[in-house]
């Protein structure tokens, strides 16, 4: 069956563009380790999976507010972990998480 596509549909941001956008718009990300993982890395999926590793408390509240603003028109699914939790779960390695900095710079794995 032929696909009906609206002429006004706009191109979506790539994983690299999202990484760049978040690093630019969320200053507090400097205080955390940030990653993208999951299907969004490969241009599929309905949202962008982001992992944030770092402290809780005030810095985290600040970052959450910035991400909420940045994600106003962007489907983000953000997971927050303490450094001890990242270590306990081994999630970064297991889920193939890619640092946003490297993704933004266009580095290959």
């Amino acid at each position: 069956m032929g696909r009906v596509k609206s002429a006004v549909a706009e191109p979506l941001m790539t994983a690299r563009e999202v990484a760049k956008y978040l690093l630019t718009s969320c200053e507090s990300l400097r205080e955390f380790e940030s990653f993208m993982f999951g299907s969004s890395l490969f241009g599929v999926g309905s949202d962008f999976d982001i992992l944030i590793v770092g402290p809780s408390g005030e810095p985290l509240s600040r970052l959450k507010a910035e991400l909420r603003l940045a994600g106003k028109e962007l489907p983000l699914d953000v997971l927050y972990m303490l450094p001890a939790e990242a270590e306990e779960t081994g999630f970064v390695t297991r889920a193939g998480c890619r640092p946003l900095m490297r993704l933004a710079a266009g580095e290959k794995r």
Partner: protein, 213 residues
């Protein structure tokens, strides 16, 4: 075109083989599958959907088959769920819509993140009353007369932040039930729950509680 409609259309075109989709107007799209009636889905960017908003969508789009909360953090209030289900309108996130397109049960689909866990609780004999306050929060009364407010935590490996954020958003709960069968709550998550006054548990522990209390 709204951002969330744009994403929903692209997602259907990319990931849902035989389906085609087009924008109707505002938040509504039409989805066509071979040999099936067309489906009208309304793609909402709301952070929370209550009965009033669900009714407003239905008034705007009387032929709505499915209401999609596109944001991952979208929360559905119990009133909205009851309203939509009683009007045979499916509800849930983009993943739920995607699955429903394939199975053809768009009008009866319910947020799949919580569907199986909530159904499991409904089938337990010792649960004599259930009140679903939100898609992920319910209060259950057991045959013994004891009542528990339960939060369903869908994260693969719930973290301390997930527990604290849940508590802040939905208020005190007795049980944080990690419904994802594959992962386990982190030690920090269990301790965070303890600090707040709730038990973080998996199904095996909840099952024992239902049997014994």
């Amino acid at each position: 075109m709204n951002w969330q409609v744009n994403y929903a259309l692209k997602n259907i075109w990319t990931n849902h083989g035989a389906a085609s989709a087009q924008h109707i107007r505002d938040d509504a799209i039409r989805i066509t599958m071979p040999d099936r009636p067309d489906v009208v889905a309304v793609i909402s960017d709301a952070y929370a959907i209550n009965a009033e908003l669900a009714m407003r969508y239905q008034a705007d789009f009387p032929d709505m088959d499915f209401l999609c909360g596109y944001r991952k953090e979208c929360v559905w209030e119990g009133g909205a769920i009851r309203y939509l289900e009683s009007n045979t309108i499916g509800w849930g996130n983009a993943g739920t819509l995607g699955s429903a397109i394939h199975t053809g049960d768009v009008n009866t689909a319910a947020q799949k993140d919580y569907f199986f866990s909530y159904r499991l609780i409904r089938q337990i004999r010792s649960v004599t009353n259930l009140d679903r306050e939100f898609d992920r929060v319910f209060t259950m009364t057991l045959a013994s007369g004891r009542t528990f407010r339960v939060g369903m935590i869908m994260e693969y490996e719930p973290t301390a932040d997930a527990i604290r954020t849940f508590w802040d958003r939905f208020g005190p709960i007795d049980i944080a039930w990690n419904i994802n069968p594959n992962g386990y709550p982190t030690q920090n998550a269990i301790e965070a729950g303890r600090g707040l006054g709730c038990e973080v548990m998996k199904w095996d522990e909840l099952k024992v509680l239902l049997r014994n209390r």
